[in-house]
């Protein structure tokens, strides 16, 4: 078991490096001078810009920039220790190579995601600020899709061919085809605007005291959760139906029935437990699904989460912010997939060996 986990962890490393290379080069292929975006003030002279560019390492070739972004180490020709040495940066000149090596103490590998241009805060800090909101929404949506999707799928397999089964399957197809943003707008329009039952957006009612009000928070949570979860409900119910039908056809279920077990114990002790195992495999992808859905859901509902943060950073061309956020989401996705592989290996020993 330990070897299996270790091997899967090792496999994640090249993936992570690949992700960092792709996103870095993509973001750095953006047209326009990043310095010019930052120093739009006409009073700033070209020399100042040149110095800034040199300090940020933007005068160097992209591969060197990538290494310094990823590892925090940068290198420059000649002895320039005096120029680059500062509070956070230690530099050392190696005479043999006629090169100055600098260690900024940052870099992706050491958990430093960079600094946002628009607020000058560390990317990590801005993400952490927004994390509780996304977490709240994501956990609520994941719970909703599991608690509704699993029973719906299992029941529609048990009553295969019934009206209930057909309704569930038809709903799943429609939910799959429904664009989240439009469904969200329609729900806001119906429940928020016309009926006025639920708030149209935000995480809580804005007030001067800004006290924590659970009922108010929950009321704000209902619509975004519904929008983030409906795709998952469709996917999970479909998945569980297929899995349950497959389990029903196995020999051990036939044996259980043949030896005269009660229908309920056949279903719940033999069938359901085995049908739930493959659910582990979609746990990882559903984390990615929640992160993906978060962009649109949070944007429609003005939910102060990480998805909306990343989206507005992209629109504002705050590339370090976007880059850091995307790295963070990718790491989460990789970890989610890893976790679901490992869990699958734990519950199903056959997987470990292959």
């Amino acid at each position: 078991m330990f070897r299996y986990v270790f091997r899967r962890l090792l496999q994640a490393i090249p993936t992570l490096i690949g992700v960092s290379i792709i996103s870095f080069f993509l973001v750095n292929s953006a047209p326009g001078d990043p310095i010019l975006i930052r120093t739009f003030d006409p009073k700033i002279t070209e020399e100042t810009r040149e110095i800034l560019r040199r300090q940020l390492g933007l005068d160097q070739p992209i591969p060197i920039q990538y290494i310094s972004w990823f590892t925090g180490y940068s290198l420059r020709p000649n002895n320039v220790v005096g120029e680059f040495q500062s509070d956070g940066v230690t530099c050392r000149f190696v005479a043999l190579l006629n090169t100055t090596f600098c260690d900024s103490g940052g870099g992706i590998v050491r958990g430093n995601l960079g600094t946002s241009i628009s607020t000058n805060q560390p990317v990590w800090e801005r993400l952490v600020e927004r994390m509780p909101a996304t977490l709240e929404l994501g956990v609520a949506a994941l719970l909703a899709s599991l608690l509704l999707g699993v029973p719906l799928g299992v029941l529609s397999a048990v009553y295969q061919g019934s009206i209930f089964d057909n309704i569930v399957r038809f709903m799943a197809v429609i939910f799959n085809a429904l664009p989240a943003f439009w469904f969200g707008l329609m729900l806001i329009f119906l429940f928020g605007v016309v009926l006025g039952w639920l708030p149209t957006g935000g995480r809580q009612t804005v007030s001067l005291t800004s006290e924590f009000d659970l009922v108010d928070r929950l009321r704000h949570l209902i619509l975004p959760t519904a929008i983030l979860a409906f795709g998952g409900i469709a996917g999970i119910s479909r998945f569980m139906r297929t899995e349950t039908l497959e389990v029903i056809r196995t020999d051990y279920i036939r044996t259980a029935k043949a030896k005269g077990l009660a229908a309920t114990s056949v279903w719940f002790i033999h069938a359901l437990r085995n049908a739930l195992i493959p659910l582990m495999t979609i746990l990882g992808p559903s984390i990615a699904g929640v992160l993906t859905g978060a962009v649109i859901t949070e944007t429609i509902f003005s939910w102060p989460g990480m998805g909306r943060l990343t989206f507005s950073a992209a629109v504002q061309r705050d590339y370090p912010m976007v880059l850091g956020a995307v790295m963070f989401f990718s790491i989460l996705t990789i970890l989610g997939n890893l976790l679901s592989d490992i869990l699958y290996g734990v519950v199903d020993p056959r997987v470990r060996l292959s």
């Binding site: 090249p14 690949g18 664009p179 943003f181 629109v315």
Partner: protein, 345 residues
Amino acid sequence: MAVNQAQLSSAELASALAENPQLKRDPQTFWGMAGQSLRRDKLTLISLGFIALMALLALLAPVFEGAIGIGPDDTNPQNAFAPPYVGPYIQWRTGSDLITAPTMLGKSDGVIHWLGTDQLGRDQLVRLLYGGRVSLGIAFFAAAITLVVGVSVGTIAGFSGGIVDDIIIWFINTVVSIPGIYLLIIVTAIFKPNPGTLTLYLGFLGWFGTARLIRGNVFKVRELDFVLAARSIGATKIRIMAQHVIPNSLPIIIVNAAIDIGVLILVESALSFLGLGVQPPTATWGSMLNRANNFLFLRDPVTGDYSALHLLVAPGLLITLTVLALYLIGDGLRDALDPMMKNTR
């Protein structure tokens, strides 16, 4: 039956057939059987009809433009937020309608806006037709790219195996680890797309799933006996791939194509809704919703009706129905092409 036929000589067979033409049976092919089961599948046929209708309407957009007499980008601020034209309906309900109908048409210079107008007084029907052109066109051509790239890469990876496969699958796993919508948001925010470039972005960022699927199938097919037979009589790798492996992936490719177009319509409209897709004034179904989003609360001062309701409902309904039809086609094709799967889904 087969035994009997085998016992007859060809001459006897010919005379028997001449005597009784009803005995003649065409050989059943895989595609013939698939077509047969598809013809019995009403839901899939309706969906196919709907998609054909949508495509036709989108292609004929200029004809409708001519008939209605107004272009997709022609504004008329005097007549913003006109509700769908229900003149005949009002006439029927009230018995006579001498006052309202002329004033309704008076604001629009006599043009009948069947689906109403948007915040700039542009005709929604014409915009939906032209938007359908862009949305369907982007999804269709992007799906073509994903299929060509996905099938080639998947076949190469599955067929060569070894280091080539390792590199390809590492690359795919890597890109797939970046949540797709963020990748698209970065790309579209950096390079403001037009319909053409957006097609390219969607196509070249969307083939990974297809490649994986095809690769899995190729792994299965290349172990089969007929591939071994082909290799043993000295067929080249390229011939085996083109003659045996790719045709065996065709059912997967076809099913995937229908679902892919649906997914791409959803992705494109989501991006356009976020304002990152096709830029205004070009209409797409997604960008039309982006505008409607701003007028959720707007009410008509006289009647108190929500002014933008028709702008909210129509594009979204079209997206949903089109994607639904494509998914149903995909399901129907899967049933037709892979009868073994039918009972387990």
